[in-house]
């Protein structure tokens, strides 16, 4: 009964304890198992095959197909694709000032949203990780996660109602003789910051959780006040987590067009440029060329943050 053992292991067959169920040994399965055990390469190939085909062939392939179309153009009347390679789309993107303006505006919004979310997330995450009791901690995590299930659209629409003229925000600010921002860039920034907040809180919380209390106690023993401990000990340690959260807030804001449509009033962000060209004007080549912009920005960002180890903190 040694079919299950490798030949190079000199083990005696294990005596089965009385009363325990014998493990069924299917010879073919066992042979397959030992083959796999002996050949790590085959195991690796088997593990990698499906995901790699999916990600590289299917996903990257479809991205390549789309970006290849960026070099084409469409007939302005019938909308048919003209498959003649040219740099026209890119030239238009670079030369027309309007696209540069929209791109910079979008970058600004994405950066602002990231900063706002980081500022709000830090105290919340510190409280959750270091101050709250363990039981309360679980409840708090649940409370932070729950809004993720409320539909993105509904949350954006809730903000539309909040910010509408004579809506709750105007009503609340009325006594102070102020009025809400109405629809526009500020509304978009507020709403996006709200939508992506859990995506920033969770990695930062996880990162803070990993900071051992002993380090903090040591820092206090050495005489550092809480603020100094935070600045010199905690912040560098959770920096990858902050960056991980920023990947979400930044990239999600960069491509968003739906929130802009709901609370943006007459504003346009870069996502709208892409959407208006593909969803509305059927101008796939120009939309693909425009899509290069956020993709390039995000790839650059990802390459920069890889060093910080943030990708492991997602």
């Amino acid at each position: 009964m040694d079919a299950g053992l490798d030949g190079d292991q000199e083990l005696t067959a294990v005596q089965e304890a009385p009363g325990s169920r014998p493990v069924r040994r299917d010879p073919a399965g066992v042979r397959a198992a030992s083959f796999l055990h002996r050949s790590p390469r085959v195991r690796l190939a088997a593990l990698l095959a499906a995901p790699m085909v999916w990600l590289v062939v299917a996903y990257l392939g479809s991205l390549a197909v789309m970006f290849a179309a960026a070099f084409w153009s469409t007939d302005s009347f019938t909308g048919a694709l003209i498959k003649q390679a040219s740099w026209d789309n890119f030239r238009t993107l670079v030369e027309e000032p309007v696209y540069r303006r929209i791109a910079l505006r979008t970058l600004g919004v994405a950066a602002t949203v990231t900063v706002v979310d980081a500022l709000i997330a830090l105290p919340i995450a510190v409280y959750m990780a270091k101050v709250a009791r363990p039981r309360a901690r679980r409840l708090l995590v649940a409370l932070i996660l729950t809004p993720l299930w409320a539909s993105y659209l509904v949350k954006a629409y809730a903000w539309r109602i909040l910010l509408s003229s004579d809506g709750p925000v105007d009503w609340a600010l009325g006594p102070l003789h102020l009025s809400g921002p109405g629809y526009g860039l500020a509304a978009v920034t507020l709403t996006l910051a709200y939508l992506w907040l859990p995506f920033m809180i969770l990695p930062v919380y996880a990162g803070l959780d990993r900071v051992p209390d002993s380090l903090l106690e040591a820092s206090a023993d050495l005489g550092a006040p809480a603020g100094r401990t935070f600045r010199s000990v905690v912040l560098p340690l959770i920096f990858p987590a902050l960056v991980a959260g920023s990947i979400f807030t930044f990239s999600l804001s960069l491509g968003d067009y739906i929130t802009v449509k709901i609370v943006g009033g007459r504003t346009q962000l870069f996502g709208n440029v892409i959407y208006d060209n593909i969803g509305v004007a059927a101008n796939l080549p120009f939309a693909a060329a425009a899509a290069v912009v956020p993709v390039a920005v995000i790839l650059l960002y990802l390459a920069l943050v890889r060093r910080t180890g943030a990708l492991e903190n997602l």
Binding site: A58, M66, P134, S151, L153, W171, L252, I258
Partner: protein, 266 residues
């Protein structure tokens, strides 16, 4: 951290304010689902359960919900499979291109949804694939993989290989080791990943818009269609309220299963 009492109170205050910010819009949704005015004037003039009654009859919402559930289950299953395989490969082996994978797997979720949507749409068109459940599930699985991958990777990193080696030393085959040793260790991470992946797929709208067929509406698509319609918007609010209330269940389940994830204490 030794925090002064004042700092603790300040942080607790920040927590309360933060939670308030997060929940006020959601409570507004809940309030509006009861608002007797169709156009959500504020403050509400009266409360009514009329919209809740109407939602129960709404066939469109029900079929959209069911579609979303089916798509979510399919995408989650696929993502679990692919993400776990990938996590194992990356964590347990060294090979050429290993560090690029973490970049590659995060791409579907890092790139704007509209880019992924257009790319998949062009690819499906080029390949002549008919749009329907298949295309939507494929699209969703693509960006759910990273969720599963990250969760399993983190767990594998924590558990190490010693138990598996011991199991092999004791005579278990590869499959047995996986079934009796590895899998139980992964189980809670798999559940947490599945819940997050399902939530992501359930709420996704942009990529879905580009990969669906006419007549095939997931819940977010249905919501988007009805969001501004005067007679339907209250129903949308009710649906949203229900989603929020229901979401407590899976979150609670995940937390029970994940036990004490407080690895921070030495």
């Amino acid at each position: 951290m030794i925090l002064s009492r004042r700092a603790r109170i300040a942080l607790a205050g920040a927590m309360v304010v933060g939670l308030a910010i997060i929940y006020v819009p959601l409570l507004l949704v809940l309030l509006n689902s009861l608002n007797s005015s169709r156009t959500f004037g504020f403050p509400p003039t009266g409360l009514t359960l009329e919209w809740w009654r109407r939602t129960l009859d709404n066939a469109g919402a029900r079929s959209a919900l069911w579609t979303s559930v089916k798509v979510g289950l399919g995408a989650t299953a696929l993502a679990l499979l692919l993400g776990t395989c990938l996590a194992f490969a990356v964590q347990r082996y060294r090979f050429f291109g290993r560090d690029v994978i973490s970049l590659l797997v995060v791409l579907p979720i890092a790139l704007p949804g509209i880019v992924t949507g257009i790319a998949l749409n062009s690819a499906f068109n080029a390949g002549g694939v008919p749009f329907g459940y298949f295309t939507v599930i494929v699209a969703h699985a693509t960006f759910c993989i990273v969720i599963v991958y990250n969760n399993i990777l983190a767990r594998l990193r924590r558990t190490g290989t010693s138990l598996e080696e011991a199991s092999a030393d004791l005579g278990a085959t590869t499959f047995q080791t996986f079934r009796y040793v590895t899998f139980p260790q992964l189980r809670s991470a798999l559940v947490a990943a599945a819940v997050l992946a399902f939530a992501l797929s359930f709420d996704e709208i942009v990529v879905t818009t580009f990969t669906t067929a006419p007549g095939l509406q997931t819940l977010p698509l249905w919501i988007f269609d009805n969001l501004f319609r005067p007679n339907q918007a209250p129903v949308v609010n009710v649906v949203a309220a229900v989603l929020v209330l229901l979401s407590v269940l899976p979150i609670w389940a995940v937390l029970r299963l994940s036990g004490d994830e407080t690895g921070g204490r030495l």
